[in-house]
């Protein structure tokens, strides 16, 4: 009876959430400090591990990257005494290591660095601050829940999960139990919440009801787990009582309709911090001359979830990526959609990839998809847009974290591709022979000239590299901070929301009419007049829900 009364009290005392931070700097990779004074986050652009002072709104960078490098911070979690931050760092060798730094700044210490477990997500600290509960994603396709000593020493594996990456896990305030989300069953796409004893002695499925149950977090008293669930039709916050590692009674809703929520943590004073993505982006077709006025949305189903369009060589079809499933901190679940542009027809290409990074057309009308398969290999795959039949063009087990990007001219005999950020290569698909065309730091965004003779890619922060496909002298076009490239009738670079026409002969770049709120992803139509682009505005803000 007392238990029920306490539950009702908790369920009814939740008040309206309030926004604590909402500007262009908001990223959803950090966590609130247990004392509620600050949030750790990654500063967009610089990639610096930073802290945001909740009361005053001040921001302070703690760990910045060396000049000229591409390193950056990623997930982070704050120690129980709110004095240290454990964080993932994308390092100079191209994988993530685990580091810790004082909130006062200073040099961070590397706690774990090994390419074999090259993606790490620190999630929580043990109550004594001695270890960090960390999720590892290994190159052999296994994710592992492990404890890493905060003062150095070997990590201890608690649980291995095959090709499942929990979206979130947390450690109870007394350090005895971990909660995490994973697939509800072998054949289920739904996730649910599991409790794992921190000494490995037991594991219990906490939530058995239908729906996707995600992002579990412990309340400060260790008596409840708060998680999000779509079982009520919207993404709601639910609470389940726990006693001695066992669920007590039925879970209940504490807040309906959180929106596109990504929970970040619960502070000692019961403030539930979560990020919310709002706004939307979609794929539009417009003209280069008057992009803002002529824009029309071209997607038919799943509006406001689409991005990264690519025109087919005949200009009759448009391929783009469409987001599916629940929110993710990192890479989102995507499918490929092909729209017949002259007909009201849109369909999904049933490609068997675990993750899709980008899609392009080959010169002869097939899709060149970069992504990874569930066997832990990544690469470039050739996909028939009609039958969805797929075959690997370039594939590596445990490939580079920045993946592959490729262009394939008509004829299908050759592919040019970027491997990670360091190499531009050509492969003869018949003989398997490979040739390195360019090598260097920070190569990205590959495009092929219409005559098939020259490759362009962004080379570092201040230039575009032009490389003849048959070898020969390379040329650099000075252009700062390009974020994309597309070579249709003309060579166009994206720079933030702007589009710039570049002259391959070295003439000055020219700013094209503004398409307005353009986001990443554009493609020129073969007619040289139209362009498909992603537009809209996705925004993130951080809200707090008082749980009692």
């Amino acid at each position: 009876m007392l238990h029920l009364a306490a539950a009702l009290a908790l369920a009814t005392t939740a008040v309206e959430p309030r926004v604590v931070w909402s500007d262009a700097s908001v990223t959803l990779l950090g966590a609130p400090s247990p004392d509620g004074r600050f949030l750790s986050y990654v500063e967009p652009g610089s990639g610096a591990l930073s802290v945001y002072d909740v009361a005053g709104g001040n921001k302070r960078a703690l760990v910045t990257r060396p000049a000229g490098s591409n390193e950056f911070a990623y997930f982070s979690t704050v120690s129980p005494d709110s004095r240290q931050i454990a964080f993932a760092w994308f390092n100079d060798e191209g994988f993530y290591d685990l580091r810790v730094v004082s909130v006062e700044g200073g040099s961070p210490r590397v706690l774990y660095r090994n390419e074999e477990a090259g993606f790490v997500q620190p999630c929580a600290w043990t109550p004594d601050g001695a270890s960090i509960l960390t999720l590892f994603f290994r190159k052999d396709n296994i994710s592992q829940i492990a404890l890493v000593p905060a003062r150095g020493g070997p990590m201890k594996v608690l649980r291995s999960l095959h090709w499942v990456y929990p979206k979130r896990m947390d450690l109870a305030p007394d350090g005895r139990f971990i909660v995490y989300d994973s697939f509800a069953g072998a054949a289920s796409g739904d996730r649910t919440i599991f409790l794992l004893a921190a000494d490995g002695s037991k594991e219990v499925k906490l939530v058995a009801r239908p729906g996707s149950h995600l992002f579990p977090l412990w309340t400060p008293d260790g008596k409840h787990v708060v998680y999000t669930s779509d079982s009520g039709g919207t993404m709601d916050a639910w609470m389940l009582d726990i006693a001695d590692g066992k669920p007590q009674g039925e879970p209940r809703v504490v807040r309906r309709n959180l929106g596109r929520a990504l929970p970040l943590g619960i502070t000692r004073d019961w403030n539930y911090y979560y990020g919310v993505r709002s706004g939307a982006s979609d794929v539009f077709v417009t003209t280069l001359d008057s992009p803002a006025a002529d824009a029309r949305r071209v997607t038919l189903r799943f509006p406001e979830r689409n991005s990264m369009p690519a025109w087919s060589p005949d200009g009759r079809r448009l391929a783009y990526l469409s987001r599916r499933g629940t929110e993710n901190f990192g890479e989102q679940a995507r499918v490929i959609v092909v729209r017949e542009i002259d007909r009201q027809e849109e369909r999904e290409v049933a490609v068997k990839l675990a993750h899709i990074e980008r899609v392009r057309w080959s010169g002869d009308g097939r899709l060149v998809v970069s992504g990874s398969i569930s066997k832990g290999r990544s690469g470039l795959y050739l996909v028939d847009p009609q039958s969805s039949a797929m075959r690997p063009l370039i594939e590596e087990a445990g490939g580079p974290y920045r993946g592959f990007e490729g262009v394939m001219p008509a004829g299908g005999r050759r592919i040019y591709y970027l491997r990670g950020e360091g190499e531009l290569r050509a492969r003869d698909l018949e003989s398997g022979e490979e040739m390195t065309l360019a090598r260097g730091a920070s190569l990205s965004h590959l495009a092929l000239s219409p005559d098939g003779k020259t490759l362009a890619c962004v080379a570092g922060p201040d230039s575009i590299l032009l490389t003849p496909v048959e070898g020969g002298e390379r040329k650099r076009l000075p252009f700062a901070e390009a974020t994309e490239l597309d070579w249709g009738k003309v060579l166009i670079a994206g720079k933030g929301s702007e589009l710039w026409r570049l002259d391959p002969e070295g003439g000055p770049p020219r700013l094209l009419p503004s398409p307005g709120n353009r986001e990443r992803g554009f493609s020129q139509h073969p007619d040289g007049k139209r362009i498909a682009l992603t537009a809209g505005k996705e925004k993130s803000e951080i809200r707090v829900l008082r749980l009692r």
């Binding site: 660095r113 608690l158 095959h162």
Partner: protein, 305 residues
């Protein structure tokens, strides 16, 4: 007085046993998936250990579990295929039983869904111990469920880990030699071994047709009756592999070098060859590096509580 002393000693033994905790070697999951119906207790594990070495469980009392699963060589034997009572020979290599606590199915063809289901089958198998399980249980003064639970509990405590590879993954960058690191790179890269041999126990617990022994043994087909499962066998874990030849389900490959050569050539062609098996064309140096890496999977094997 003597009765009291015995009672106290017994209570101490029981309490002591209850406090014992299984120490999991480095590199393996601390979480051991043990069924609620057969919780791991020191008493059951110790009883299971005794039964594991008890030859009364075979018809002519000549063979125990440990005859084929010799603790001195990581609970395997040296024979190509298993030997049973009266010199009878089984069709397949003795399976590795270390780390089976993490297993999802058992035997080369996966015909048992749990260790409880598995442990009694060799006792009844005419080519192995050839004894009715009820009689086996009676011989050791137990009922069948107690025999089954004790043996399964003991097998769950046979763990292999704490190898140089585990220490390397745990953060000791110097635990592997340069050649072993190159072997690891090949293992998960060009050679594609991690398509099947992955995770702490280096197995996907799935069934694959590599062409070994084709078409003599139907393998997984015997269980599923699905034609495409013909010739498929469960991926074995690779821990302690370097000191436990011969290899494959029929023991047909004598050395690790032979195994690497077999895969380098793309396995043995047949209609149901797994698509992951393809010609690798490894160089001599690459083959040597792979073998060196496999040797880094030798660590410590422990059993009991």
């Amino acid at each position: 007085m003597r009765r009291l002393a015995v009672a106290v000693a017994l209570a101490t033994l029981i309490l002591g046993a209850a406090e014992k905790k299984l120490v999991v070697p480095a590199g393996l999951d601390a979480y051991l998936p043990v069924p609620d119906s057969n919780p791991l207790t020191a008493g059951k594990v110790e009883l299971g250990r005794k039964l594991f070495f008890d030859k009364r469980l075979s018809r002519d009392q000549s063979v125990s579990c440990a005859t084929c699963h010799d603790p001195a060589i990581a609970f395997t034997d040296r024979r190509k295929t298993a030997a049973g009572v009266n010199g009878r020979e089984g069709p397949r290599r003795v399976p590795r039983i270390a780390n089976r606590v993490y297993g999802k199915s058992f035997f080369w063809d996966g015909r048992a869904g749990s260790l409880e289901e598995q442990v009694l089958q060799p006792i009844a198998n005419p080519k192995e111990m050839d004894l009715d399980v009820a009689e086996a249980a009676s011989r050791v003064g137990l009922d069948v469920p107690a025999l089954e639970q004790a043996l399964a509990s003991y097998v769950r405590t046979i763990l292999a880990g704490d190898s140089p590879y585990d220490r390397y993954l745990a953060g000791d960058a110097g635990a592997l030699t340069a050649r072993q690191r190159e072997g690891l790179r090949l293992f998960r890269g060009k050679a594609g071994c991690t398509s099947c041999h992955l995770g702490p126990n280096l197995t996907d617990e799935a069934f694959h047709n590599t062409g070994v022994g084709w078409p003599a043994d139907p393998g997984r087909y015997q269980v599923t009756k699905v034609e495409t499962d013909r010739g498929a066998f469960k991926t074995p874990g690779l821990r302690e592999a370097a000191r436990t030849p011969p290899y494959m389900h029929d023991g047909s490959l004598a050395t690790l070098e032979d195994v690497v050569e077999f895969y380098s050539k793309g396995g043995q062609g047949n209609p149901y060859l797994d698509p992951e098996i393809r010609k690798l064309d490894l160089t001599a140096a690459e083959k040597a590096a792979l073998v060196a890496f496999l040797e880094a999977l030798n660590g410590k094997v422990r059993d009991g509580m």
